[in-house]
Symmetry: C2
């Protein structure tokens, strides 16, 4: 049993009102794989870096137990670079610089040993490239995908085609409203599920996440953190934790999906506590279990006595 | 056992991208009292209207079972008027017009028969006027208060004095950040609770509510509504439902407060489904109980198996 994650491997430079970090390890594939690892022994990365990608960062991923056979090195290019600046409330950010570099000509080739992957996580990439991956993997049991506003605006038709091949779509609330062209999130969710994904998860940052399936809506809280160092990669860490739990549970039923959203939220809540994905490397299973229990306590609604019976 | 609510009684004109309504019954005291009524037989209103307040609206409140002995009529003035316009996403609004009218010279006089009130709800008013009410009521068991950004900015010291006399403070997330001068909501909550209120509830509109007490944080979801007609008064309906439940429960422990937040959310979710507070008049106890159950299902996290035990 195995998880394959395709996405970016990047240098991230992060500015916040409270500090900054330069050229830390980043990218959706880095976060996805490191987040899934606590739940799954066999996590496979597909991505590309340039000639300037340091051994140290490769070693970080390897130490995290990630299979790097699918990490291509483009000797003619530099590594994808992103520079972002977070606002005072850490909920919004501006992109100051994006250098695609090696990513511009990336055509993922899935190693033979990856072709039997059970769960495929499609990190934010051009929707056509996401489909290239699905075309190569023999018969994935479950496909989880992310996207971003750039693809919603520039390649809407290609995105729709990809969505028709996705089981679980994970986006943030602003993207959901934009993709559906509908301000009400509940209606937007219905419209997006009509595009293909049986399961839709809308991430709301500090407000938690909503899980929409055929038969229910689940509202997951966010962990009340006093110190957030770097929100970058939280969404990918969420998707990685979700994939990891679903893999481990061997189930896609209501309870497995709800637990998956919680474990995804748990991993994301750790990820934002440090610059880059470093915190994910230190995670113990005990720490994950304890924080997951804290989520249950945070959201626990005591049994309700029907109002009729309460009245004298 | 009784609940007293002081606040505005108003004409509200509402514009949304999807419709509008003119001069409907509004005001914090109207919403607070009508929201508390399903839980409590004895709900008392303190407020002021002008000579133009129609019998029809007085009858609406009376039909809702609200005690109107404390509703003063200022024959020299008109009734408080507010005109607001909601944005496309219904989460934000602009105030187009505010006419204080009778409210400008309002000095609440609490009728003798109200002086034994058990729970006092202080709707959004000048903080000094909120204290005038507390000075008159003999010995309330519990004081719930709201405010708005205007008082945070214009009368910060007076607001602090009021806060030192409040048990439960209910504000929205933007107001919490502004009052505490702290962007992180969890830290802001700690700073505000240091100002006096043992219990703080931060309302987040479509994202639910957070309850902060000495020993825990509770994250309540919002009900996933597809159709919101008029968000005006939702916060007051929330506080009224909360007060109503606490009154009925006769307890202020962890479970009572959590249930109170849920019942408050339930009543608020009904209130926004129609212009004005009309929907609150039609509420059956069965409808309230059913929606409260839906909240539990919405937030239910299945029992988690510790991660250690899951691993092969």
């Amino acid at each position: 049993m195995s998880i394959l994650a395709v996405g970016t491997v990047a240098f991230d430079s992060i500015d916040t009102p409270f500090g900054s970090a330069e050229r830390v390890l980043g990218g959706s594939a880095s976060y996805l794989t490191l987040a899934a690892r606590p739940f799954c022994e066999d996590v496979r990365l597909v991505g590309v870096v340039g000639h300037d990608f340091p051994d140290e960062y490769r070693q970080t991923l390897a130490d995290g137990g990630v299979d790097l056979k699918g990490l291509e090195v483009d000797e003619d290019e530099k590594t994808f670079f992103w520079h972002g600046q977070y606002h005072y409330d850490m909920n919004e950010r501006d992109t100051l610089d994006t250098q695609l570099n090696a990513l511009a000509s990336f055509e993922p080739e899935i190693p033979d040993s990856y072709l039997d992957s059970d769960i495929v996580c499609l990190g934010n990439l051009e929707p056509g490239i996401q489909r290239d991956v699905l075309d190569q993997v023999a018969d994935p049991q479950y496909v989880i995908a992310d996207t971003m506003n750039y693809w919603i605006e520039s390649t809407p038709d290609s995105l729709r085609t990809t969505l028709s091949q996705v089981d679980c779509f994970v986006i943030n609330d602003a993207e959901a409203r934009e993709l559906a062209d509908e301000p009400n999130l509940v209606r937007a969710a219905g419209l997006i599920r009509d595009m293909g994904p049986e399961t839709l998860i809308i991430k709301k940052g500090e407000h938690g996440a909503l899980l929409f399936t055929d038969h229910s809506v689940f509202s997951a809280p966010a962990y009340p953190l006093e110190d957030i160092q770097d929100p970058t990669g939280a969404g990918d860490a969420f998707a990685g934790g979700l994939a990891g739990h679903l893999h481990r549970a061997g189930s896609l039923d209501r309870d497995a999906l709800r637990r998956g959203v919680i474990y995804g939220s748990v991993i994301a809540s750790f990820a934002v506590q440090r610059y880059g994905p470093d915190k994910l490397l230190d995670l113990t299973r005990t720490a994950i279990t304890e924080r997951a229990r804290a989520f249950r306590e945070l959201a626990a609604i005591p049994k309700l006595v029907p109002l009729e019976k309460q009245l004298a």
